[in-house]
Symmetry: C2
Subunit: 336 residues, 2 copies
Amino acid sequence: MTSSRPRPATIGDIARRAGVSTAAVSYVLNDAPGGARIPEETRERVRAAADEMGYVPGAGARSLRTGARDLVLYVRSDAAQGPLASEFLHGLSRALRGLGYTLMQYGAERDRGLEAARAWAALRPAAVLADDDRLTRAGVELLAKGGVPVVGLGSDPERARGTGLSTLVMDHRAIGRAAGRHLAGRGYRDLAAVLPAGPPLRAMGGERVEGVREAAAEAGAAVRVHDMAYSPESAAEVVAGWREEGLPRGVFGYNDEFSGLLLGALLDAGVRVPEEVGLVGADDLVLCRMLRPALSSVRMDGESSSATALRIAEVIAGGAEVHLSPWTPVPVRRAT
Amino acid sequence: MTSSRPRPATIGDIARRAGVSTAAVSYVLNDAPGGARIPEETRERVRAAADEMGYVPGAGARSLRTGARDLVLYVRSDAAQGPLASEFLHGLSRALRGLGYTLMQYGAERDRGLEAARAWAALRPAAVLADDDRLTRAGVELLAKGGVPVVGLGSDPERARGTGLSTLVMDHRAIGRAAGRHLAGRGYRDLAAVLPAGPPLRAMGGERVEGVREAAAEAGAAVRVHDMAYSPESAAEVVAGWREEGLPRGVFGYNDEFSGLLLGALLDAGVRVPEEVGLVGADDLVLCRMLRPALSSVRMDGESSSATALRIAEVIAGGAEVHLSPWTPVPVRRAT
DNA sequence: TTGAAAGCGGTACCAC
DNA sequence: GTGGTACCGCTTTCAA
């Protein structure tokens, strides 16, 4: 008497229960033109049967038959968390739904390259959006062979151009430039910038530092660069180093969170902020307004994220190659 | 000459190219026992063909044929962000993969209830994990009819017991209790607790406040409750209110982020923390160690998240009803 | 007006 | 030993 787990009802079950053919069921449930002249009474019966049995057509069998692909895969590392990414995700999801696609986040695992591409391809998606570090040449090629457009999140547009790979990037160099100019604009000439130690953030950090360097060069300022991990201890070490070799006048802390750590360490060391050291983060999180003194930052402005999402959705639908960089950095001056 | 988008290669394509039957292709690629005696030379040819054409078997057709369901849906609101949720997600994903399942995050949209359940059911998942606010009686029933177990994230275990709905909860009351005891343990008898204004957080907030009340009752302390939105302005209002009616001695700020806002507002108002007002958050984010004075908090300890994940995976595999609450709150005393 | 049947891409039974 | 073929659930053409 082991009642095994119930299986979902099939169209055949409904047809049998309603005493009609499977075709009739399909017609009624999709109110398809093919079965335009099915009497209301029959329709009623079919709908009732479907309802009672909790029938929902299986997406797999359906898309196997129709050939429609409506799945969009979104593969992200955790690095891309926070309100900005989250808002973007929502806008994208909404825009895609409006166009008949379904967005799914896939791969909390670290799979990448060809292996990952095979897993994605097996799902026959309409498109794949993936963090750059998940993508390899071979992987993108495999997907392309199956007609699956790929959008590289954070991929270098220059390297991608002409390869069929679309890109969506945040201009980290511009963020660094904005931060650097903010600092230089206050008259600071002795600058320091922080480079996150971990692999996922390091690449972005490098770009941001480059931007700071550009801004410093414009203003004739010097820039020191320091490795730092995301921990209070590491922040304290950086500050201790500064105490020895001399405090920088202005600091770009990579982002608000690293800057928050740095601020704590500076205050612990008895350094007055901003009188002795100015500090600027990036992302303009609410965190900036929790800290005292309140943290200056760089906000990312841009077309509404759903507008961006819409453009991406068009790529997906059209299959063209595009390169998007929809955010503009805007310095936000606060106490530090 | 409009070269339409390429379609993925099918098993038939490979068979034709390799000059064998589709059956042979299937056997070779899955090295299935059925085709044990296919000569190595033929296998080679098949593999080569598959490779050249970038063939990957479609998961849809495969599971249609085999009847296997390997998809686990994870439906979460953004409310559940942060390192804890993220770590849990990873552990879960890994554990499930080990058992042959694939975890996908679905539904950035706000769909809920029966409508959402239909969408999930169409994917023929092995199980659905969803935030409680997405679930309705009818929705869970629909899924159950199709043999799909549901785990309610944050659902009340008491109400769920016996309905077939599994639950995974964080014990918010216990968090509040831990925070309240921490405060009372410092000798504070005039307590205040914050209740987040928004709908997603409010329910949890209510539970936490209840916990604070319990701890206060034990110690003979009083508790005031204040609505607050997640903004510096709202925090300032709360503090202004306190200035008028008298400062509380100890404050539970719902979580670290609300507490951070409160801390900023308190300092702005010239209140000395912790000399005049003690403050405790919850979650033990890195944020606590950015703030000065460093924020006391309540950390969530528990069995490793992958162990929890494993138990959930068993539910999925077995279809049984379980009620999990694997986290234990632990006060973390810092400067505030 | 209704329904039989073909076929989507796979797997695996079973007859050659 | 091999590979033809039935079949999974569903849509849609076409004939009755």
